[in-house]
């Protein structure tokens, strides 16, 4: 059987102190929203039945947790904290790095021309020069 879950108030979107007129309006709206969905309609109607029955509604009401009472001492206890500093970050000391700026354009202005490359080609090493090996050897008949 268990306790109501969800509460019929939730099903119909009603406050605990809702009166009959509000209940009717909520029921109509909920049924309209649930039209075509049998299970939901059934749940809406069941919720309405509970809320229309004074005894069952009272039993439902007593299933809701009672709201706690205000605790003034807590507010008084924490009041000084409203004046406490927020934890803004500490600023670091200024360093030489922070004050150093080097830009590519300014550095490039100092670049010098490269010396020209050596002229000419070193030549073909002897081992790669042409010789008679390019001529096919004579092969006696096999």
């Amino acid at each position: 059987m268990a306790l109501f879950e969800p509460s019929p108030y939730e099903v119909l979107g009603l406050a605990r102190d809702a009166g009959p007129d509000e209940l009717d309006a909520a029921l109509e709206a909920a049924l309209e929203a649930a039209a075509g969905r049998d299970v939901t309609v059934e749940r809406v109607e069941a919720a309405a039945r509970v809320l229309r029955d004074p005894v069952r509604r009272l039993e439902l009401d007593v299933q809701h947790l009672p709201p706690p009472e205000p605790v003034d001492e807590a507010a008084e206890l924490l009041a000084p904290l409203l004046d406490a500093e927020l934890p803004f970050p500490e600023r670091a000391e200024v360093t030489a790095g922070d004050l150093t700026a080097v830009h590519r354009r300014e550095l490039a202005a100092d670049f010098a021309e490269l010396p020209p490359p050596p002229a000419g080609f070193p030549g073909v090493p002897e081992r790669f020069q042409a010789d008679a090996s390019v001529l096919p050897p004579f092969e006696p008949p096999r």
Binding site: L3, E69, A101, H103, R105, D110, P116, P117
Partner: protein, 1347 residues
């Protein structure tokens, strides 16, 4: 065989008589077969030949020829019959049979098998070779057919010249062996070996074959020697080849040189001589070769190469051209011309000739390499790369040459890195200059983007091939590398260290006297980036670059020389006024003087100032502030330059600091908002987002602040949460405050301790929040904790009950926490709903009043709801719900007690809490039992009920609160006495206290009374009896009377159907009420009825006991006595028929008892005599003569018709009793038992009757032994039987039987030679018994005749 005629059988008999063959006869048969063939009888002839061949298969070797003739004869006949396959088959058999087929088989036969072999794809070459060998015989008659000869020869040439190497090797070897003295197999074999690269084998083979060979063979040998590099021997062999020349009249083979022999011989001898350095002789041979065949380009080519070798390039060109004249497509000459062009530096002409040569011989790789080289040399780098790339890479001369020329081509084509890779791969000192050159080219390509890589390249180039150009380039690259690190790696110590070393290196590359200012500036900047401003010059003129002025000012600021710094900053031109760094420096100066607002402005400017960028050189990721190019930059203002996270972090930190000091924090919130938006995810990593959040929190917008702050900034988020929570508390929104405060404590344990204290005060609110979020475990735990401070608070009890209910319903019943949750549900919820305050508060929330009776109904519904859930729980656990520990029982107890408490106004005041109504049940009492303060208050409140002084409803149920017996009391209160009693009786004995026993007695008595009222006599009596047995209380007189009534009524109802139960009931009742006489009378009667019933079931012992009990109660009861006599007789008779000795003894006792009851009772006397006879016989057979005599004497004494000597009569009667027993009772028993019985009988009275019985028994057993061939035992038994015979007739009958036994014995023994004596002895004994018996005499005669 008849169809072959009579001679056939005879012939074959002659042929094969006893495995020997007659040659003459065979020859005759052959002749007969030939005649038949000739006479047109091929079938007969063929069969004859076949038979002969078959018969001769096993003939001795000397007759092999005859079988050969038979096979060939058969083949001829088959051929004549156009049976070619048959002919081939027979010929092949003959070929196989022949030792030398070429000589033994006629040419046609050989041709036949050769042709057959030629049609097969594989197999030995013996047949074709044999055919050629036979055909070569000049005396062959008829001579071989020329066409057939050519066909077979050509086929063999193909076999030796074609196909796989292995096949050619095998075929040529077979041909050499099969055709000795013939040239072509030698040439073919040599060619096969050379083609298999078996030069050594070829040389050895030809060395053996050549001496007798022709000029062709010598040429082949010379060629092999030439190939092997053995030029002197080759020259000699060519000499011999030329001397011998081509043999006349020999058909050419594929391996013959024929007409070319002389020209080739001269050419290769000349080449061999050239190799030997005999230039003149070589030239002479080559000229001779030219003269011999002017159209052969090869000798001219050879002459050209010889000239090339000798340096006569003109002659060489002339001869190459001459060769091309006679053979324009002759490639070697074209290559020779290309080579001559290349040597002369005519790269284009060389390339043309190479191209022409390659068109004809595209696979000649050296030519492709040279062609590529010449293309490159002629300026066709791209085409050269295309030609050379496929040739480069292999580790051989051509591959390396191709690689070199490819590198050159690549360099020429602008691919310096490709050239470098090629040349590095080849290596060698002669390539170092080339490699260095390539590195230089590569370095020049990368120095703009990666000066470090360029520097490394030039360093290597310098180490490989030092050049001044490389040194200068390396220095410039080093300086650029240092500059670049200031842009990309200044924050990395390792990078700074590496560049520091590079700068030291660069310093060494300058010549003495060179301007080192650039090195000094870079070094100072590098140190400044690392935090060391000492190298920055502290003087700078107005013409110095902006950055130098800034860095000087920075160094001065860092040194504390603010005035000097300010003076230097004054040198910064107006156009640079908005540069980030001057702005930052001015901000720092303003901070130093405490002008925070001004400092703030400068810092803000520094954040948005335009960078000195250049779209061509400045990468998009460069920071507009510091110039770093190391990471993402963020652009807060599209019109300005971006900033790196380092600049943003430090600048915004300064902005925040200055703003707060200038009390202008609100002014900079938009700045942080903009940067937070710009930074995106980086806003959190840099802390900018956190600052923005704190600024917003400081301005009071905590929600906005918390929307930004995540758990990644725990301290900041916790601080804001505390602020917001505190404000919520102040506004009375405690539940919202609790959420914030709890998160703050969870996030940051360092929050102020007052937050924790406040949460303690707000514990109920926190539990309420948990419940609202469906966290039932946390909610329940929270409410229980709160309840401890005020355990009777109705709202808290109600809340605990509700959250416990939700929690319990969400748990699996097997969960260990479930029972506790259900206990709290019952205890707290029931207490809560019986508290009027709870309903009042509920009504106040809903705004609806409480109508009379409404609360009770609603409470009833809720309790019913709970009860239904608990019943389901019980059922799931296998309980009915009526057990004392069932959940259903517990909730019922709780409700009953709470109702009672609710009727009173008992109060408890625990701790600082106000006094509250005490409403509870046993569950809640148990749960709160450990709460000392509450327990103290509770004990005070309920004291009047505990000591029994109080009255009323609560006093009535107070016992239900008892921890151990409350449930039992509750059951009694509910009238469920039996359940209570059962539960109490189920308690372990050691746990059953006096209080428990008293409660049990009460339950039982109350149950007895209840049952009495409903006339459940038996059950009521049982309850009273059990109550009495508990022994803690006396039953009242009325209860005793009720018990006696129950006994009477119950027994009467039970007597007919269950007299035993009636007896029990009555005895129970008598235990309760021993003075009630009617109960005793009823009990005696019940015993009698029961005894009868037992007797009917032949349960005599129990029946006699029952009737005995009846007689004890009323010994004069005639009915009981009669029943007893009947039972005795019945029982005794039953036992008398039993074979068990114990039963017989018991029967004897019973008979004696029955006889004693009434000595005139004939049935009893007869029964007694019978059992005495049985006892006497049993004792006699057991050998107990004394007891046997005693039993029988007692029996004789009971005989009214005998008045003589009882002892003597007893012996006689015993003897007869045993004889009769042996004859009847032991009829089917073994002989020994019956003999023993008769023996015992004889011991009591050795009368003729007994001996006659013995004789009969012995004769019967002897007859059985005779049948079983146990004749000796039969003879012994009959011998004894003779002694038992009581008269002559009986004795004569026994003697005849004994003689018969001996007769049978004699016959049986006489069958065995060794037992003849035994047989004679037996027949003699038989004749001694019956001397006149003719049959016995005849038998003795027969036995004696056996000897």
């Amino acid at each position: 065989m008849a169809f072959l005629g009579e001679g056939w059988g005879l012939s074959m008999a002659l042929l094969a008589r006893r495995g020997r063959f007659e040659p003459a006869a065979v020859s005759e048969e052959l002749a007969r077969a030939a005649a038949e063939a000739k006479a047109g009888q091929p079938d007969r002839a063929r069969k004859r030949y076949a038979k002969l061949a078959k018969s001769l298969a096993s003939a001795p070797p000397e007759l092999r020829g005859l079988r050969l003739a038979a096979l060939l004869g058969g083949a001829d006949v088959a051929l004549a019959q156009s049976d070619a396959p048959g002919a081939v088959l027979l010929t092949a058999q003959a070929f196989t049979l022949a030792a030398d087929p070429a000589k033994e088989l006629p040419l046609p036969a050989l041709q036949r098998v050769a042709s057959h072999r030629m049609q097969a794809s594989q197999g030995p070459l013996a047949a074709p070779l044999a055919f050629l060998r036979a055909a070569a015989d000049p005396e062959a008659d008829p001579p071989a057919d020329a066409a057939a000869l050519a066909e077979v020869t050509g086929w063999l040439h193909r076999v030796c010249a074609e196909g796989p190497v292995a096949a050619r090797d095998a075929a040529s070897g077979e041909a050499v062996a099969g055709l000795p003295g013939v040239d072509w197999p030698v040439l073919a074999r040599a060619a096969a070996l050379m083609q298999a690269n078996r030069i050594g084998d070829a040389e050895r083979f030809l060395a053996g074959a050549s001496p007798s060979g022709s000029g062709e063979v010598w040429f082949r040998w010379a060629a092999v020697l030439f190939t092997a590099g053995r030029f002197p021997q080759a020259v000699a062999a060519f000499d011999e080849a030329l001397r011998r020349g081509v043999p006349a009249g020999v058909e050419l083979s594929p391996w013959s040189r024929g007409a070319a022999l002389v020209g080739d011989g001269l050419l290769f001898r000349g080449l061999a001589r050239q190799r030997l350095g005999q230039a003149d002789a070589a030239q002479a041979d080559l000229i001779a070769a030219v003269n011999h065949n002017p159209n052969d380009p090869r000798p001219r080519d050879a002459i050209a190469r010889l000239a090339l070798q000798l340096g006569a390039e003109d002659v060489a060109r002339e001869q190459f051209e001459a060769a091309l004249t006679v053979a324009p497509s002759y490639v070697p000459a074209r290559l020779g011309l290309a080579l001559l062009h290349e040597r002369a530096g005519r790269a284009g002409a060389a390339a043309d000739d190479y191209r022409a040569a390659l068109a004809a011989a595209p696979r000649w790789r050296p030519a492709r390499v040279r062609f590529g080289a010449m293309l490159a040399a002629a300026g066709g780098a791209a085409q050269a790369v295309e030609v050379l790339r496929p040739e480069a890479g292999s580790d051989d001369a051509s591959g390396r040459a191709a690689g070199f020329h490819l590198g050159a081509a690549l360099l020429a084509a602008g691919d310096a890195r490709g050239a470098l890779e090629r040349w590095e791969a080849i290596g060698g000192d002669d390539l170092k200059a080339h490699v260095a050159l390539a590195r230089d080219r590569v370095a020049r390509g990368v120095v703009g983007s990666d000066p470090a890589a360029a520097r490394v390249l030039w360093q290597r180039a310098m180490s490989e091939y030092p050049m001044p150009a490389y040194r200068g380039a390396m220095r410039e690259a080093t300086l650029r590398e240092a500059a670049l690190v200031l842009l990309t790696g200044r924050d990395v110590p390792e990078a700074r260290e590496r560049v520091g070393k590079a700068l030291e290196f660069a310093r060494m590359l300058f010549a003495p006297g060179d301007d080192l200012g650039r090195v000094e500036r870079l070094t100072a900047l590098l140190r400044l980036a690392g935090g060391d401003a000492s190298l920055v010059p502290d003087h700078v003129d107005a013409e110095a670059p902006l950055r130098d002025r800034c860095h000087t000012a920075a160094a001065l600021l860092l040194a504390g020389r603010d005035r000097d710094a300010e003076r230097v900053l004054a040198l910064v031109d107006r156009e640079h006024a908005r540069d980030a760094m001057p702005a930052r420096l001015r901000a720092v100066l303003a901070e130093r003087s405490g002008e925070w607002r001004i400092a703030l402005d400068w810092h803000l400017r520094s954040l948005t100032a335009a960078a000195p960028t250049d779209p061509l050189t400045t990468p998009p990721g460069a920071c507009g502030g510091c110039g770093r190019e190391t990471g993402p930059v963020y652009l807060v203002d599209e019109s300005r330059s971006g900033r790196c996270t380092s600049c943003v972090r430090s600048s915004l930190a300064a902005v925040l600091d200055c703003a707060r000091r200038a009390s202008a924090a609100g002014d900079v919130e938009p700045v942080f908002a903009a940067w937070t938006d710009t930074l995106g995810d980086a806003a959190h990593a840099t802390g900018v987002a956190a600052v923005l959040a704190l600024l917003r929190a400081e301005s009071g917008d905590h929600d906005a602040a918390l929307a930004i702050l995540t758990s990644a900034a725990p301290a900041e988020r916790a601080a804001v949460l505390v602020r917001r929570g505190t404000l919520e508390l102040r506004r009375g929104r405690s539940t919202r405050a609790v959420v914030d405060l709890r998160e703050a404590v969870t996030l940051s344990p360092a929050v102020d301790e007052s937050v924790g204290q406040a949460l303690g005060l707000l514990a109920e609110h926190e539990a309420f929040v948990h419940a609202g979020a469906g966290r039932w475990r946390a909610a329940f735990d929270g409410y229980v904790a709160v309840l401890r401070d005020d355990p009777a608070h109705p709202r808290l009890l109600h809340a605990v009950g509700l959250t416990a209910y939700r929690l319990a319903a969400s748990l699996d019943p097997q969960d260990p926490a479930a029972p506790d949750a259900w206990s709290w549900t019952i205890g707290a919820l029931v207490a809560g709903v019986y508290s009027p305050d709870v309903w009042g508060q509920t009504a106040s929330v809903s705004g609806r009043g409480l109508a009379p009776g409404q609360v009770a109904k609603a409470r009833g519904l809720l309790v019913e709801r709970l009860g239904a859930d608990l019943r389901a729980l019980d059922l799931a656990a296998g309980r009915t719900g009526d057990e004392v520990d069932a959940w259903s029982t517990r909730v019922a107890m709780e409700v009953r007690c709470a109702e009672a408490f609710a009727q009173e106004d008992l109060r408890v005041a625990v701790g600082d809490a106000p006094a509250r109504r005490l409403i509870l049940g046993p569950q809640l009492r148990r749960l709160l039992d450990g709460h000392a303060a509450w327990r103290e208050q509770y004990d005070l409140a309920v004291a009047p009920y505990a000591d029994g002084s109080a009255q009323g409803g609560l006093a009535e149920v107070f016992g239900v609160l008892h921890p151990a017996l409350g449930a039992h009391r509750f059951l009694i209160l509910q009238g469920r006495f039996a359940d209570a009693a059962a539960a109490l009786e189920a308690m372990p004995a050691d746990a059953r206290t006096g209080e428990a026993r008293a409660l049990l007695a009460e339950a039982l008595v109350r149950e007895g009374e209840r049952l009495y009222r409903v006339k459940a006599w038996d059950e009521a009596l049982d309850a009273f009896a059990r109550a009495a047995r508990v022994g803690v209380r006396e039953l009242t007189a009325e209860q005793v009377r009720m018990g006696a009534d129950c006994g009477l009524y119950a027994s009467r109802a039970l007597l007919a159907g269950s007299p035993s139960r009636a007896v029990e009931v009555l005895e129970q009742a008598i235990d309760l009420s021993p003075e009630t006489a009617e109960l005793h009378t009823e009990l005696g009667a019940a015993y009698v009825v029961w005894a009868k019933k037992l007797g009917e079931r032949r349960e005599f012992d129990d029946a006699l006991a029952a009737v005995g009990r009846a007689l004890e109660i009323s010994h004069l009861d005639e009915s009981a006595r009669g029943v007893r006599r009947t039972l005795l007789l019945g029982f005794a008779e039953h036992l008398t028929t039993s074979a068990a000795p114990a039963d017989l003894s018991r029967a004897l006792e019973l008979w004696r008892e029955a006889h004693a009851l009434d000595g005139q009772d004939a049935a009893a006397r007869t029964g007694l005599v019978e059992v005495l006879n049985l006892s006497a016989r049993r004792a006699a057979l057991a050998g107990d003569r004394v007891r046997a005599s005693e039993f029988m004497s007692e029996a004789v004494a009971l005989d009214p018709d005998y008045d003589g000597d009882a002892a003597a009569e007893a012996g006689r009667r015993l003897s007869m009793l045993l004889v009769g027993h042996a004859a009847d009772g032991l009829r089917e028993h073994p002989f020994a038992e019956r003999a023993a019985a008769l023996g015992a009988a004889r011991a009591f009275d050795d009368s003729e009757t007994v001996r006659a019985a013995l004789c009969e028994l012995w004769r019967g057993e002897a007859a059985a032994r005779v049948e079983g061939k146990d004749l000796i035992e039969a003879e012994r038994l009959l011998g004894e039987a003779v002694e038992f015979a009581v008269d002559d007739e009986m004795r004569r009958e026994v003697v005849v039987e004994l003689a018969g036994a001996y007769r049978a014995h004699a016959i049986e023994a006489a069958a065995h030679r060794r037992r003849r004596g035994e047989a004679l002895q037996a027949i003699a004994t038989a004749l001694e018994l019956l001397p006149e018996d003719e049959d016995l005499q005849s038998l003795r005669t027969s036995i004696e005749s056996l000897g």
